[in-house]
């Protein structure tokens, strides 16, 4: 069966004074119906820009989709105008953003912000929209939903606001939810609650979830498949067990080693293996492998030839020259 969403060779660029910033540079990601896909990578690797490009929510201009296709249910979204995309936004693909504190409009009640989405996409009266909104708020476990629906965002805590955001994204029962680091801004205890809620909702409505995160712990708990991004590119893609059991790319290996382990005592816990160095600048990136300056396995070929995604096991692909038999004696 064809995937629900298929991103092919997506390039999203931002012109800057110093040159073109290639925030996303040829990304392929596909999501099947009902599946949870995690996208991981360090800050600035292009996760948000990739997600926002799907519904053209990046600022355009200056941002620009320079190349690629975004095929949703057999239809390419890239050539669509903003008006045409409005039919898909919230109705087919729902969004949950990183910052619950700033993602809600401070001068409108939370009820109005959820209901307006329903009224936009479905033939409902104001009363019906309000009832559905209260129902959604109950579903995301907001106590006293009938009263809270008329409250303003500042009257909610961060965790409660993120529940409101989830209710908003789910209101029109979309086929895909894109959650961009939905728990990063929250307290650790609240994080787990929100992730549980998201899982619950996913099972109840049977939608697909694209969960963006930089926490490998979250990935292990929620994902069926994982995409690892580095500097605007996908470097590895695998089913979750395969990725943790048999990580191929040195960058992925580094990410997995950096997970805090609860089975170690506190003295060892602090000694995470952080990956040295930092993300390369995305303006005029170096040729070859972008991870090469930080990679302890780097070879000569790595700075000369760009590694392409290749399958190393069924459903497991990575972009690294390590163990590539086609390179012959070059390695």
């Amino acid at each position: 069966m064809a995937p629900l969403l298929e991103i092919k060779g997506l390039k999203t660029h931002f012109p800057t004074d110093d040159g073109i910033l290639q925030a996303v540079d040829g990304v392929d990601i596909s999501i099947n119906r009902g599946e949870t896909l995690c996208v991981v990578g360090e800050s600035g690797c292009g996760k948000t820009v990739t997600a926002m490009s799907i519904l053209k929510l990046i600022a355009m201009p200056p941002g620009r989709i320079a190349a690629g296709q975004i095929i949703f249910e057999g239809r390419d979204l890239v050539p669509l105008t903003s008006n045409e995309l409005d039919e898909i936004r919230a109705k087919e693909i729902g969004f949950i953003f990183q910052e619950p504190m700033t993602s809600l409009n401070p001068v409108l009640t939370v009820g109005e912000q959820i209901a307006e989405s329903l009224r936009r996409h479905e033939a409902v009266t104001r009363k019906q929209a309000l009832d559905r909104t209260i129902e959604m708020l109950k579903l995301v476990q907001i106590p006293n939903a009938e009263g809270r629906v008329h409250n303003y965002p500042h009257q909610f805590s961060g965790g409660m606001r993120q529940r409101v955001m989830i209710a908003m994204a789910l209101a029109c029962k979309p086929k895909l939810i894109i959650a961009d680091e939905p728990t990063t801004a929250l307290d650790v205890t609240i994080q787990a609650q929100i992730l549980d809620l998201l899982q619950d909702m996913k099972e109840r409505f049977g939608m697909a979830v694209m969960l963006i995160t930089h926490a490998m712990g979250v990935v292990a708990e929620t994902a069926q498949r994982v995409v690892v991004m580095y500097a605007g590119k996908v470097v590895e893609e695998a089913p979750v067990d395969d990725l943790f059991g048999n990580p191929g790319h040195p960058y992925t290996q580094g990410l997995i080693r950096s997970i805090p382990r609860i089975d170690l005592d506190s003295e060892h816990k602090t000694r995470l293996e952080a990956i040295g160095g930092s993300v390369p600048i995305l303006i005029n990136p170096p040729v070859g492998c972008r991870f090469a300056p930080r990679c302890k396995f780097a070879m000569n070929v790595c700075t000369e030839k760009e590694p392409l995604l290749r399958e190393i096991a069924p459903g497991h692909r990575m972009a690294c020259h390590l163990g590539d038999t086609n390179l012959g004696g070059a390695a």
Partner: protein, 319 residues
């Protein structure tokens, strides 16, 4: 809410009292008084002069005079204009409609220009429209009203002879003719004042919109598929108008101040030109009353700004 307004009004009383003391002292220290003309008039005998001065208490110590003024004021007696030979309140009420008509229309014109232009420019920043709007706003903002006023008179009254350049309150004619004449003679002053206001307001609306447009909740609204118009009006404008409305309310006293200049240029018999002429003729009771009315307006519009702010922004509770 009404409690808040009431409390704010109570707080305003001491500040208005303070302002009136300062005004009174300054005017008392200023050279000349309403009777300085009598003093130089050989037809009025000195005894009569002294009797009149005593009658109006002009030679009393200053604090007694102030208390006398305050007492009269509280009883609704605004004093008597020696120059116009009528009660000050009647005089002010006679002059006020022309001022309110011109200032009100100018302010409406400014809003009708500034809000659509500022909003549209902000939705397309650095577009041709935005750049033209910015340039015009900058020009309009830099040209003082006395300059544009005279320029308008030269072009539309003197050269083209389309519009009258003296504003008059006793237009001959009745009915529709009167209405048309009223509109015709207000065009230039309203345009001069309104365009000047519109220039600064447009810049403010645009920047307030740009501040909001890049915020996260606007992206949230876009992600709901609401459409550009709804996102701009319901989510961006609704928030951007909070500082704009507050600023407009706070600027109102300055607008009245600016109207003084416009009234002088177009000879509008409004409250501003009344102030100027009473200062020139040492008509102290009128000067005192008009400045005090201006002071009350400042306090009033400050209160209006606060109330509007609290009404527009649910995060602020007026208690």
């Amino acid at each position: 809410m009404s409690q808040y307004v009431l409390r704010r009004l109570m707080i305003a009383i001491p500040s208005l009292l303070g302002i009136s003391v300062v005004l009174f002292v300054v005017l008392a220290l200023a050279p000349g008084d309403p009777f300085s003309e009598l003093a130089t008039n050989p037809n009025v005998p000195p005894e009569v002069q002294a009797a009149l001065r005593a009658k109006f208490g002009l030679d009393d110590p200053i604090h007694l005079r102030y208390l006398h003024w305050l007492n009269a004021m509280l009883h609704g007696d605004w004093g008597f204009s020696f120059v116009s030979r009528m009660n000050v309140d009647t005089l002010i009420l006679q002059r006020l409609p022309a001022t309110l008509y011109v200032i009100g229309s100018a302010q409406i014109l400014a809003l009708l220009i500034a809000i659509p232009v500022g909003v549209y420019a902000a939705t397309k920043p650095y577009s041709l429209f935005d750049q033209i709007a910015n340039t015009l706003a900058f020009v309009g903002f830099s040209l003082p009203t006395f300059f544009t006023g005279i320029l308008f008179i030269l072009i539309f009254s003197v050269t083209l002879d389309w519009l009258p350049f003296v504003y008059t309150t006793d237009i001959k004619g009745t009915g529709i003719h009167w209405v048309l004449e009223m509109i015709r003679q207000a065009i230039m002053p309203v345009a001069v004042l309104g365009l000047f206001q519109a220039a600064s307001m447009t810049r403010f609306v645009r920047s307030a919109m740009l501040d909001v447009i890049r915020l996260d909740y606007v992206t949230t609204a876009r992600a709901k598929g609401l459409g550009q118009a709804k996102v701009i009006v319901k989510h961006v404008m609704r928030n951007a108008m909070i500082p704009v409305v507050t600023l407009i309310a706070l600027q109102m006293p300055a607008v009245f101040g600016g109207a003084i200049v416009t009234e002088q240029i177009f000879r509008i018999p409004g409250i501003g030109s009344l102030l100027i002429s009473s200062i020139l003729s040492n008509d102290t009771p009128v000067v005192m009353a008009v400045t005090f009315v201006f002071a009350c307006l400042v306090v009033l519009f400050n209160l209006i700004a606060d109330v509007l702010y609290g009404w527009l922004d649910p995060r602020i509770s007026l208690r």
